[in-house]
């Protein structure tokens, strides 16, 4: 058999978006085959379920503290999946020269990062949907603004994926990447996940609200309850959809700011090749 003749016509081109979509399909296939990835999903769902099985007192609008904790944990879904999964697989791929081969084959960095971000966002949304199901099953009612809730989960996937990618230059193999990822995961879980920042004293509330997991947790709590919780749970009041989105802008800004900062850091420090200085 002879190899097909090289074309003489002008070569077509493929856009980065199309490459991203095709890489996303590959990322999905691989995600489904990684046991560690399933562990991250189970861990995220488990951390939402735990508070719902503990007693809680009403805080505002019929919402109990344990339910608000569960919503706070929903803000940390992308922390667990986004930091845990990309740090693990991109370190392994770098060491196996997969990333180098793809780059040498003309795959742009935006497509590679975009695909894994899409997968993190997609699975985070699935876990969030399951979390909402758990909330409904314990009688917490349906979300008042599901768009805000889903927007928060999806948006938080971006900076958290970047944070996961930023861990890879610090790790020499997939195992050490998992270890390295634990520190930021724990830090972020305890800054708005395990204990909602709305319960914190004012000064701590303001500081922790600048962290991405806390900002996401607040957006989810607001989206679920329809209450303006961005100034803390004390004095939180039910507002209309427009007012809720206006009140949410600072938290959304926090997530965009983290996305920008971490994106620049990934561009500067991400290593494609084990030999890269």
């Amino acid at each position: 058999m002879t190899i097909a003749t090289t074309r003489t016509a002008p070569r077509p081109t493929m856009g980065a978006l199309r490459q991203t979509l095709r890489l996303t399909r590959m990322e999905f296939t691989l995600f489904m085959r990684y046991k560690t990835a399933w562990l991250f999903l189970a861990m995220a769902l488990f951390l939402i379920a735990v508070p719902l099985n503990t007693p809680g007192e009403e805080v505002f609008g019929g919402m109990a503290s344990n339910e608000l904790s569960a919503l706070g944990m929903m803000g940390s879904i992308a922390v667990i999946i986004g930091v845990g999964h990309p740090s693990n697989v991109f370190t392994a791929r770098r060491e196996a020269l997969v990333l180098k081969r793809m780059r040498a084959g003309g795959v742009p960095s935006a497509a590679l990062f975009g695909a894994v971000t899409a997968i993190v966002a997609g699975f985070s949304l699935v876990i969030a949907a399951l979390g909402v199901g758990l909330m409904v099953s314990v009688g917490a009612g349906m979300p008042q603004d599901p768009v805000m809730l889903l927007f928060a989960v999806a948006l938080s996937a971006v900076p958290m994926t970047f944070l996961g990618l930023l861990i890879t230059p610090l790790a020499r193999n997939a195992e050490s990447a998992q270890m390295a990822a634990m520190a930021p995961i724990m830090l972020l879980l305890f800054s708005g996940g395990v204990m909602p920042v709305g319960l914190f004293p004012d000064i701590l509330h303001k500081i922790f609200s600048l962290l991405p997991s806390a900002a996401t947790g607040q957006l989810i709590q607001a989206g679920y309850t329809g209450y303006d919780v961005f100034g803390g749970f004390e004095g939180a009041s039910a507002v209309g959809p427009f007012e809720l989105w206006v009140a949410a802008l600072p938290s959304i800004g926090v997530l965009f700011a983290w996305t920008a900062v971490l994106g620049v850091a990934v561009h500067r420090w991400f290593k494609w090749d084990p030999r890269q200085a």
Binding site: P12, M14, G106
Partner: protein
């Protein structure tokens, strides 16, 4: 797997404009200069072999051509574009088989080739490419279950399926059995005939001898020898050799009247070697042999295993590496 092509390297298409141009390329890592002033061209349909010892700077040179590293200094152009600064202009036109395979262990062979197809704008048929590299019967096997040679074939398939106009091959047949290696060689000849420009780095000198239109030998970051195989070997000259007679040291060996003939011993002074290079090699080698036979007759000794042969690429390679190791 069968391909249709001749066994001999093709004629270098010297008339065509180079698609790869490297001028005075230098690449440093901190204080260490891995590549020191390398220059070469590659034309469409030409296979250029870059040979050298481990750490000679071959892979670093290829990395710069692939756009994975910014050159410290010098000029690198592929189709007139800087591969590091203008990667989008080269997207889909070049591809590579790296020294490591760079494959995803959790995908199957077919999934791996299809993924590469999906990322290309003008791909070949994955089934056709899998057949070309002899992996059709392994299409459902996970990459992690393949042998080293099969992984090399798969890496080549991933590059070929994107239909590159320039192909960088970093030791593409390492780990393959001899039959598999010959099949890949035939495939590369087909690609050349269709106009693909190929940069090959290899440790198998026979591979370069059979495939390369032109070659270069790198050592410690510099190109020490460059040209066509015939040109390189002609420059290196003929070698007259014989087993060293008993009680004769290198100082006792006769010096030919032609003072340009180099005299040395090899293999722990078991063999004498006279290297004749420059113009009229055949005539001057004959004269040197006549002088040696006369010397042997005068001293009543015999020159066991006396022979004259042209230099091989291995001779040239070892001389380049050896000369520099002594420096």
């Amino acid at each position: 797997m069968t391909t249709t092509s001749t066994e001999s390297p093709g004629t270098p298409p010297a008339a065509a404009e180079p698609v790869v141009t490297v001028r005075d390329l230098r690449q440093s890592y901190g204080d260490f200069e891995a590549v020191r002033g390398v220059s070469f061209d590659i034309r469409p349909g030409e296979l250029f072999a870059l040979l050298g010892t481990n750490g000679a700077g071959k892979t670093t040179t290829v990395d710069v051509l692939e756009g994975l590293r910014r050159a410290t200094s010098g000029t690198v152009r592929v189709f007139g574009h800087d591969p590091y600064g203008q990667p989008a202009a080269l997207r889909g036109r070049t591809n590579a088989v790296l020294q490591g395979d760079g494959l995803l262990d959790d995908l199957t062979v077919a999934e791996t080739v299809v993924l590469s197809r999906d990322l290309a704008a003008d791909p070949r048929d994955p089934a056709e490419v899998m057949e070309l590299v002899g992996l059709t019967d392994k299409r459902s096997v996970a990459v992690r279950q393949l042998s080293g040679g099969q992984k090399r074939r798969l890496a080549l398939a991933c590059a070929l399926v994107t239909r590159p106009e320039v192909l960088y091959l970093d030791e593409p047949t390492t780990g393959m059995d001899p039959e598999g290696r010959h099949e890949i060689w035939r495939l590369l000849r087909d690609l050349k005939e269709q106009g693909t420009a190929i940069l090959l780095t290899t440790h198998y000198l026979e591979e370069a001898e059979r495939l390369a239109d032109r070659l270069a030998i790198m050592h410690r970051g510099e190109i020490r020898v460059e040209g066509t195989l015939q040109g390189v070997l002609a420059d290196w000259g003929d070698r007259i050799g014989f087993r060293m007679p008993e009680d004769v040291g290198i100082a006792d060996l006769p010096r030919p009247a032609d003072t340009s003939v180099a005299v040395e011993t090899r293999d722990q002074a078991l063999w004498a070697a006279y290297t004749v290079s420059g113009p009229d090699i055949a005539g001057r080698a004959s004269a040197a042999v006549a002088e040696l036979l006369a010397w042997a007759g005068e001293h009543g000794t015999s020159l066991q295993h006396l022979h004259v042969r042209g230099a091989s690429l291995e001779d040239v390679f070892l001389r380049v590496a050896g000369d520099l190791n002594q420096n």
